[in-house]
Symmetry: C2
């Protein structure tokens, strides 16, 4: 039996193109003339290794092209060196599209320096929720990133009780016990509404997201605060309850227009809602921004393509992804460290709709 035929599934192409078995710690140790323990110490950066031994090992590693076997390491340490990014399916659509890929991009950028791998888990129904629980209970990841949370989402509580390091994008409420990163939604909303007031709007309405999400609440809160600071009364009739979607924006805008035909400004809690609202306004014969000024939220690709181009609040999404990853890595490295909260600034991008 030829040596290469023994375990065909464990072969790989060596540097020379020859099929060779993957080298093990043992082989590295033999080549370097040291014991397994020393090689392991070198690989894991232990300081208790002499310079001479370290060099010999490093040479051997380079020569053999040795790469540690992750499964073997996981088996003994029960670390997995991987983290999960959990995305409730609905969210990939609900959020403006770049949100999703920018978060991923930020997370992945931050992880690039480590040898953590990123697992993507979409949860689209109850069954998959349960699978996720089993998955997490079975400790198959070192930590969890959750892309968005509703107030009654059972996942954060699960994470809390399992004591798995985790970081949320957004929070459930003011007293979120888990670590989270979020944009300054209230501040962004406030900025937007102040902009509307400054340009002379007297009757500023708002289109909200689903109020079981803290983001939606915060944006509504910022709207209210800006109005009250400017001495306006907060008027519930100017608040259109919607759901972040384009169609929702259209419906709510129509109602708003019926209720308060005199409105001259709308702050929308998402760009797509704003796009829907703009269609309705235009259909109703209102000029934008002259009759009604409109501001969106997210500064997504849609904002640049509406007519007129939309003024919108931008949140630093990629930065949020990076920060989430960073917090999570810290929490994994230092189990039981205090949970942390990070708020990132938003920015008003002024275009032509307001």
């Amino acid at each position: 039996m030829s040596p290469t035929a023994q375990r065909p599934e464990a072969l790989h192409q060596g540097a020379g193109g020859r099929a060779t078995a993957r080298p093990t710690l043992e082989e590295v140790a033999a080549l370097a003339g040291v014991g397994r323990g020393t090689v392991s110490r070198v690989i894991n950066g232990s300081p208790r290794v002499s310079a001479k031994a370290r060099e010999a090992v490093q040479n051997a590693i380079a020569e053999l092209g040795y790469v540690p076997n992750r499964a073997a390491r996981t088996l003994v340490t029960s670390r997995t060196d991987s983290i999960a990014l959990v995305v409730p399916e609905a969210e990939t659509r609900l959020f403006s599209e770049p949100y999703f890929s920018d978060i991923i991009s930020g997370v992945s950028a931050e992880l690039a320096e480590t040898d953590m791998q990123l697992l993507l888990i979409l949860v689209r129904n109850q069954r998959e929720r349960e699978r996720l629980s089993a998955y997490l209970t079975a400790q198959r990841v070192d930590g969890v990133l959750v892309v968005s949370v509703h107030r009654d989402d059972p996942l954060p509580a699960l994470l809390e009780s399992l004591e798995i390091p985790s970081v949320l994008a957004g929070r459930r409420g003011d007293l979120e016990p888990l670590s989270y990163v979020h944009a300054d939604n209230a501040g962004g909303a406030r900025m937007a509404v102040r902009h509307l007031l400054r340009r002379g709007c007297r009757q500023v309405a708002t289109l909200t997201g689903p109020l079981d999400m803290e983001v939606a609440q915060a944006r509504l809160g910022g709207y209210r605060r800006a109005l009250e600071e400017a001495g306006h009364r907060y008027d519930e009739e100017l608040v259109g309850l919607a759901d972040f979607t384009e169609e929702g924006g259209r419906v709510a805008m129509r109602e708003l227009l019926e209720r308060r035909p005199e409105l001259d400004g709308v702050f929308c809690a998402s760009d797509v809602m704003a796009a829907g609202a703009m269609q309705v306004l235009r259909a109703a014969g209102r000029r934008i921004p002259d009759d009604v000024a409109v501001i969106g939220f997210d500064d997504s690709i849609v904002a640049r393509h509406t007519d007129p181009p939309m003024t919108s609040v931008r949140q630093p999404i990629e930065e949020m992804g990076r920060t989430m990853a960073r917090l999570l890595l810290d929490e994994i490295a230092e189990r039981g460290r205090a949970r942390r909260q990070v708020v990132l600034a938003t920015e008003l991008i002024v275009r032509d709709s307001a």
Copy 2:
């Protein structure tokens, strides 16, 4: 020493909330009154188990809440039960945004039934390319899905030589040796151009993507074919070379307009290019679609928000993701099976721009 203090990192919350060590095969075997081998056979669905033994094992598994340890299994089988989705960073932006999340969504839907996990790998520079090679060489995944390929991309060749099961979204050229799934780009383009001709356009131009990508070539090919089938001459002056981006679309459209002011139709190989082109056309005083009809490709979110709403070619992206996953699972299950190619139909979504 209390039993629970022995290996604190290997504890988990049992059903009752009590911290218990994760059960192992051995414990299941003991409870079921059988040997380790029998439990293993039950778990892996071997037919060589008596009904009685199988039932006893299944009860024990349920009672203990046993979940196999993946690392241990990987260590001996050298299967990893995970596949990688490789995304060249640039592409997450280049493609219309839903593309990315729809592919993921399709892949993940198909994987939901299996216990494969999805690893996401973004490659943003040369260094990460090399890390990816090392990663693949170290056999850390059972298969690879590649989101898009350029003609000179070294990755497919690497996958080929490593003989790792893999499926591409798109292909490098006609003779792609790897399995791939792609939309009928040529057919979609042809459909779009025929639509333009049918509505009376006499001078139909096109804006292409980067011609080192097969998608771009195919869409250009479809454009050409439709013209020639209708008895028109293929005129290079009507071809604007661009790069799928909005800014590229603007630039190319301006040049086209200068070269051929009489043009009355444009087929654009992406929606965002079409959006850019529409801006330029409007700035030049052309009415859409009356003076110039415009068609995009992708039917992305942008298409619904341009003014007027854009006619566009839709590709079944989620279905592509599903199909890719399915082909890959087959290839993993049956090593060395023939590579397969799947072409999915495209569809023309008619709105107001043409």
